[in-house]
């Protein structure tokens, strides 16, 4: 390129006196890219660690699990795979601690064979996990032992059997340990579990079979060939290979990834808005110089290159700094997130995130900067002779439209690369375009109205302030778009964060039941109710539960359905062991949405049942359809008479399938009792008495579950707040940079007014009028956009109940106006405190 050296030199020379003007431009990029790289690095490390650790997290090469023992024919299929096998039975139950007479809800695991084949169960003493089977002893969760002051050698009673404790379990193996807080694990040998008598019809036992295969055997291929996966699935068993496990883990964290990605993207887009608005104002301040360059013989393209080089180099330096800071953030993020992750994420530099940050940052920054920069090509040299307004910067330039198009395509691609969803990417892009268009339209309307309805008879100060909105060199469009979009994005994030936390909070209402007893046999019900009443605890719910399986519906058997059309998403509904209740009324947390609820039928009548909406949708059944159930061997034909919507946030038992009274009373069943204890002391006494008299009954303390859940959620909300903080900081920097840079627009006018004798208060008032109108309108439109945006996100993406806290929004509205006016006045402080000439020499030069 001709004279490139000179252009580079001039770009440098010209930028020397502009560092302060470009500082905020750079800081918005730095913050945006820091957030992007920090979050992406963490994500990639997470995925890498999942890949590396999924073998030890699964503990085997293949897992088969279901809610019943594996039938002989499937054992045969599983045995066709070479290598050792292990079995695990897992169930939740109450444990009694004889030493303290206290009870505890626990997760019991009984392993046969050498599972885990990979990784190991961490115990104290170290070899306890190898010896407990021979000793017929138990390994007990360290936290539980600490809480109940248990020592090795003490014992614990599970069901009917008391078992000695031979080791402390230091880490729960192979699960995401979210549940361990309220149901700590206990490992016992299989023969000990048999002695407890806890495994009975109706008890919730999960059976898992593990396989270790020789090196080189591909379990996924094995699973997929000869229809093996289908054979297992048809009999309600899930098969998980190492690769499946890896995918599941990745999927499990993908929503966390998506959220963090969106936050990063918000930061980046805010940074880009900052880039565009600060470069636009920068270019405006350079028009006179560019006209001189052009007059002295510089080509339009050369003038453009000088400023493009300036902005690109500074932008790249800012991106580089952001990448470095983002990578350094790796030291902080894992520490914050470690409690909600199943394992420790290793600290390492993610080159992929760095490359992504560099490319995304440079391309987005350059493209956003190009919008105002391309106008430089068209600046006329005639400006040296005549001061004309910005008519040659108007967007008639086809190149500018090309850049808009390129920008949209890049944004769509980057959004896709972050969210892996074209729909999300497209919705986000369209949302941004609509917001931009709305703000642009309102800005034009404001200018038109200010001119059309100009208050000619009002005070000079008011007239001057309002005329600033539409006269040449006005900043109405620039500021309204940047402040409006900034406000919109920030308050959307704020509303969504509030909605998530609010939805979580509503689970913890004080009036909710806090005690659930399940596994009560029919002959135990009366006694359990008596114990409940003797502790002055109300019986809030007492429901019978009958287990059954769906055999046929709409004239076809389950096998036929599975063979024909049933998609994977619908299978859960067909395959699950249905836990059904019967009653003659609907609960307050249920709403009838279709059909008639039939509460009772006479013997010999047709049986009308009520289904949950989601369950009915999954099976594609509706009112009047026939469904046949296998109730422990007996076939029962029913008809759907009503569809219900259930509020799943209430802490009560809920049933997808509800039978009327008069059908299931004599079927084998167990019962659930829901109660509420006034305090932990009474609950403790109550639990002890129930478990002592009825060892098979489980008493679940929902209070402790809620505490654990709240603890986890508060950690998640901390992460949300921490990451959102990044965006808020970037947004504020963008607002600051737009407003601070706007001072160069107003300085000449203010100095002239000052020279003509305007007093300090007049200058302040004129600026206050202009900035208050701009700040107020931008914040109003921004909030309007955020309400619509957050509604769409809550409704379609997160599926959260939507409500708005108006008071904080009013706070944001007033804050934005106050900030805008404050910076507007801050901008004019020099004008009022220094001599006009001094100001002009320093600021305009």
């Amino acid at each position: 390129m001709e004279n490139f050296g000179y252009l580079l030199k001039t770009a440098f020379r010209d930028s020397r006196k502009n560092w302060s003007k470009l500082f905020l431009f750079m800081s918005s990029i730095v913050l945006g890219i820091t957030a992007l790289v920090a979050i992406n690095s963490f994500n990639y490390n997470l995925v890498k660690d999942i890949d590396e650790q999924s073998k030890s997290l699964l503990g085997a090469d293949l897992r088969v699990e279901g809610q019943s023992p594996l039938p002989a024919e499937l054992h045969q299929v599983l045995d066709s795979l070479e290598g050792p096998k292990a079995t695990q039975l897992e169930l939740f139950s109450m444990a009694l601690i004889p030493k303290t007479e206290e009870t505890q809800f626990v997760r019991i695991r009984a392993i046969e064979g050498n599972y885990p084949f990979y990784g190991e169960i961490l115990t104290q003493p170290k070899d306890a996990h190898r010896e407990y089977k021979n000793k017929g002893a138990a390994l007990v969760d360290d936290g539980l032992m600490f809480e109940h002051e248990l020592e090795i050698g003490d014992s614990i009673k599970l069901g009917d059997f008391t078992v000695p404790i031979s080791g402390r379990l230091m880490a729960t193996f192979g699960t995401v340990s979210l549940g361990s807080g309220f149901a700590p694990s206990i490992y016992v040998p299989k023969d000990v579990l048999d002695k407890t008598n806890l495994v009975q019809p109706g008890s919730l036992v999960e059976y898992a079979y593990f396989k270790k295969v020789p090196e080189g055997v591909d379990t996924e291929e094995w699973e997929e060939s000869y229809n093996r996966q289908k054979q297992f699935r048809d009999l309600n068993f899930r098969v998980t290979s190492l690769e499946d496990n890896r995918r599941q883990l990745n999927r499990g964290f993908s929503s966390l990834n998506s959220f963090l990605n969106l936050v990063a993207l918000v930061s980046l887009i805010l940074g880009c808005i900052g880039v565009a608005s600060s470069v636009l104002i920068y270019v405006k301040s350079k028009i006179a110089s560019i006209a001189v360059f052009r007059c002295l013989g510089m080509k339009g393209s050369q003038a453009f290159l000088i400023y493009f080089l300036q902005i690109s180099i500074l932008g790249f330096l800012a991106v580089l700094l952001g990448v470095i800071l983002g990578s350094l953030m790796q030291i902080v993020l894992p520490a914050i997130l470690k409690d909600i992750l199943p394992y420790e994420v290793q600290l390492s530099i993610s080159w992929k995130a760095i490359a992504q940050g560099l490319i995304m940052g440079s391309v987005m920054t350059s493209l956003f900067a190009l919008i105002p920069l391309v106008g430089i090509r068209l600046i006329s040299p005639l400006r040296t002779l005549r001061t004309s307004f910005d008519e040659d910067l108007k967007p008639k330039d086809p190149l500018k439209w090309g850049i808009y198009l390129l920008l949209l395509i890049s944004m769509l691609l980057f959004l896709f690369s972050l969210t892996s969803s074209w729909i999300t990417a497209a919705i986000f892009t369209v949302g941004l375009i609509l917001s931009f268009a709305l703000l642009y339209g309102v800005a034009n309307l404001v200018m038109w109205m200010a001119k059309r309805f100009f208050p000619r008879k009002r005070s000079f100060v008011l007239r001057q302030g309002i005329s600033n909105l539409f006269r040449p060199n006005n900043q109405t469009k620039t500021l309204m778009i940047s402040i409006g979009l900034g406000t919109a994005i920030l308050s959307t994030l704020f509303i969504i964060q509030g909605l998530i936390l609010n939805n979580v909070g509503s689970m913890d209402a004080g009036s909710q039941p806090n005690t659930v007893l399940y596994g009560i046999k029919s002959d135990q019900v009366d006694d359990v109710l008596k114990i409940t009443e003797s502790h002055d605890m109300p019986v809030l719910q007492q429901v019978p539960i009958v287990t059954m399986r769906l055999a046929e519906w709409k004239g076809k058997t389950k096998k036929q359905w599975i063979a024909d059309t049933l998609g994977r998403g619908q299978r859960w509904a067909a395959n699950r062991e249905a836990r059904v209740s019967y009653r003659d009324t609907l609960n307050f947390d249920e709403k009838l949405i279709r059909g008639n609820f039939v509460g009772e039928v006479e013997q010999g009548d047709s049986i009308f049942i009520s289904l949950d909406e989601g369950y009915a949708d999954a099976l594609n059944v509706d009112i009047g359809d026939e469904m046949v159930w296998n109730v422990q061997g007996a076939m029962l034909k029913t008809y759907v008479s009503s569809i219900r919507e259930i509020d799943f946030r209430s802490m009560r038992t809920r049933f997808f399938i509800l039978f009327p009274k008069g059908v299931l009373e004599n079927a084998p069943q167990f019962h659930v009792v829901v109660s509420k204890s006034p305090n932990a002391q009474i609950l403790g006494d109550y639990r002890r008495e129930v478990v002592k008299k009825h060892p098979n009954v489980s008493v679940i303390d929902l209070g402790s579950i809620l505490t654990t859940l709240n603890d986890i959620l508060s950690k998640i909300s901390y992460v949300i707040k921490f990451m959102a903080g990044f965006s808020i900081l970037t947004g504020l920097i963008v607002l600051l940079s737009s407003l601070l840079l706007s001072k160069f627009q107003r300085i000449r006018e203010s100095v002239l007014l000052r020279t003509l004798g305007a007093v300090r208060s007049q200058i302040y008032k004129i600026n206050a009028v202009e900035y208050a109108i701009l700040g107020g309108l931008s914040a109003f439109i921004g909030l309007f956009i955020s309400i619509i945006g957050s509604y769409c996100i809550a409704k379609f993406e997160l599926e959260l109940a939507y409500n708005i806290q108006w008071l904080p929004l009013l706070g944001i509205f007033l804050f934005i106006i106050a900030l805008t006016v404050f910076i507007g006045l801050w901008n004019s402080r020099d004008v009022v405190s220094k001599s006009p000439l001094e100001v002009l020499r320093r600021e305009v030069a």
Binding site: Y6, R13, V292, R294, G297, K299, S380, P381, A845
Partner: protein, 231 residues
Amino acid sequence: MDKILEVKDLSKIYKSGSRDLEVLRNINFTVHQGDIVSIVGPSGSGKTTLLGLCAGLDAPSSGEVILHNQSIGGLSENDKAQLRNKYVGFVFQNFQLIPTLTAIENVMIPLELLGVKNAQSQCESLLDRVGLGDRMTHYPSQLSGGEQQRVSIARAFSNNPKILFADEPTGNLDDETGMKIEHLLFELNKEQGTTLVVVTHDLELANKTNRTIRLKGGQIILDQVQNVVNS
């Protein structure tokens, strides 16, 4: 003598809302190499517009401008820029220095655009010549009006232009400083043998040129060659 600037049937009409405003009408004149021409006239007579058209800063509504034997009507904006860079110098009423560049860097712009290697030493001697040898690294805001105009003159002569356009070169200066600037302009012009076209209100300055073109209402009302009082 060779023709350096030829203006033929030049008109310029500005659109003002729905009305056409004819600023220049049917202007014809020729300037030869080495001439010193002044364009005078009352405010609004079209002087600055004519200067802008002659230098290729603006496009005429009709007519032709031939600068250094090239009709600039058919040239692209880039070609016009190159033509100015090679053959034209400018001095403005409000100096038009780049505020972010030092005095020497401002003077070097035309040569550096031309890709000249030893621009620095050439421009240093020019700044010395205009009496600003000790202010080379100062920014425009650190210089007085007269000093800024001297930098502007040094810049105008830095590329050895064939023709130099000056728009009210003393308009922003006091009489004494203005006089010094005039002297400097004429001296350098004489030394380099440049053609000079000056737009001015100042009849005293106009009298020092060897030809005066008087404009009124967008038309030439007088084109008079005169004896130079002071050269």
